[in-house]
Amino acid sequence: MTDYLRVVAALGRRSVKQAFRRPQFLAPILLFPTLFLILNTGGAGSAEDIPGFPEVNGILDFELPGTLIQCTMLAGVSAGISLALDVEVGFLDRLVTAPIHRSAIVLGRLAATAVLGLLAGVYFLVVGFLSGMTVEGGPLGVLVILVMVPLSALAFGAIGSALALRSGRASVVQGIFPIVFVILFLSSAFFPRDLLTEPAATIADFNPMSYMTEGIRDGVISDVSLEPVLKGLAGVALLAAIGIALCSYALRARLRAG
């Protein structure tokens, strides 16, 4: 077990280093969500006055949780691109010819994605606090963010990795980039579910991203309540389970095909 964890940690460290050494991997996680946050808070400042809009201290408090989920989705895409590049250059073959458990290859990648998610979460909290955000839930609300964000990154990382293992091509993983935005806008990430019109409202009801965002948002705009947090964690668990199952299937298929 110790050896297994040592291998996971070594592969995870490598993935984190990759992200810091290639700006293309890090920029989508930090830069795009920051720009979106600026646009959303700047352009939708009066949205909080719409009847039915939750009571918030400022639009930033409402938007930042959506930005955090967006950032974790993009971290998942980056993880997938990075793994697909390993397949393309043959680095995955090197790992497969080593006497290690196959799951360590994927787990190392996911652990790194979670760490990057955590770092991004801290970054956005700092940006938020500096810009006047308040966390009504206090330290518990911050803790919920620092737990939910890495787990969410891990779940999206699993989906990105599954796509990378299935396709073996970075360009295919990169191709899902626009879909990420569509899925996110069909959730309550940037607008309350109750105020969405059909069919977006119904889709948002079934979109795990809605519950993940609301799980984080709850502790930002009010005291932390158990139900939204549990629903958020359930959304993460569902995505992670789907992602890991797909990863496992894709890895086995890739190894079988050679």
Binding site: R6, V7, L11, V89, G90, F91, D93, P99, G258
Partner: protein, 315 residues
């Protein structure tokens, strides 16, 4: 015990049989070159032997372990440097060496020690802390080789280790392979370069269209392909008279471009006698060229076509 043993090894991709029943016996401590053109089935065979690809037929044992039944034991016993050195360009040479040590479960301190020693061995100490993306092709291959050696493997697989390298880098890899073999490692290398197989290997297996077409020592294979022949250009004298004299030493094919040639029945040892006989007959020799059969002649004799890029030097 053989280091590598396959019986009727087959790998199909749909209807295409990339490897069609290959039998191999590579002894411990041997350098075995697997020679063939692109698409002959070399890399597919290696990928099965290093557990990257499951055979669809036959059996393969490496270091005594069945590749399908005990892949982890095989992986612990082998070092692998695949075609196009698969290295992460964002990592430094030292980081990759240490990662490889971890993957082989070498304790941290020992892994660092081995990594440093191997970097020294392949002449990459100064470049060790530079990102691999800045390395030349030769440096990448040397790093790849060093990584394959981190756990002191019993059997080393090198898939086209010098393809695309300049002559100096190629020579450096050859020297290292010889040294490793002297230290006891079994080396299985695939190549499309005749010179590489000829100069490095104890035995050569020739594969074409997924099937083994010949296997022996390079000298035995060449001897099988034919005798050496001597090409003589006369500076002065009658070519017909020269043909008559040369016929005493072996078969004389038709004269081409003023060059008279003879297939020496008893090999290169007869060259002095031929020169003496021509001199005694008053025929002045302009130039002499002793042409030995090559592995390409062997390949042509066995398959009916020449090896792709035969005789060409690696770039």
């Amino acid at each position: 015990m053989a280091a590598i043993e396959t019986r009727g090894l087959v790998r199909s991709f749909g209807d295409v049989e990339a490897v069609a029943g290959v039998d191999l016996d590579v002894a411990d401590g041997e350098i075995y070159a697997f020679l063939g053109p692109n698409g002959a089935g070399k890399t597919t065979t290696v990928r099965m032997l290093v557990t990257l690809l499951r055979p669809t037929g036959g059996t393969a044992r490496v270091a005594g372990y069945d590749v399908a039944e005990r892949p982890d034991d095989v992986r612990r016993s082998i070092g692998v440097a695949l075609q196009e050195a698969a290295l992460d360009p964002l990592m430094t040479g030292r980081e990759l060496m240490r990662l490889q040590a971890t993957l082989h479960r070498i304790p941290r301190a020992k892994g660092r020690e081995r990594a440093d020693a191997l970097l020294q061995r392949v002449g990459l100490v100064e470049a060790a802390d530079r990102r691999v993306g800045t390395y030349s092709g030769g440096m990448r291959r040397r790093l790849d080789l060093a990584m394959a050696l981190i756990h002191e493997p019993r059997v080393l697989f090198l898939d086209e280790p010098t393809t695309g390298l300049d002559p100096t880098s190629r020579q450096a890899i050859w020297d290292e392979v010889r040294k490793l073999n002297d230290e006891g490692a079994t080396v299985f290398l695939t190549t499309q370069y005749l010179e590489e197989a000829d100069r490095l290997a104890d035995r050569v297996g020739i594969i074409d269209a997924g099937r083994m077409v010949a296997e022996d020592t390079p000298s035995a294979l060449k001897a099988e392909a034919g005798r050496p022949h001597l090409e003589v250009s006369l500076a002065e004298g009658d070519k017909r008279q020269a043909e008559g004299i040369l016929a005493r030493f072996g078969a004389v094919p038709a004269t081409h471009d003023g060059v008279v040639s003879v297939e020496l029945e008893h090999g290169a040892a007869q060259v002095a006698q031929v020169v003496r006989a021509l001199d005694e007959a008053g025929l002045a020799v302009g130039s002499l060229d002793l042409v030995e059969p090559t592995l390409d002649d062997v390949f042509a004799a066995k398959t009916g076509h020449r090896l792709e890029g035969a005789g060409a030097e690696p770039e």
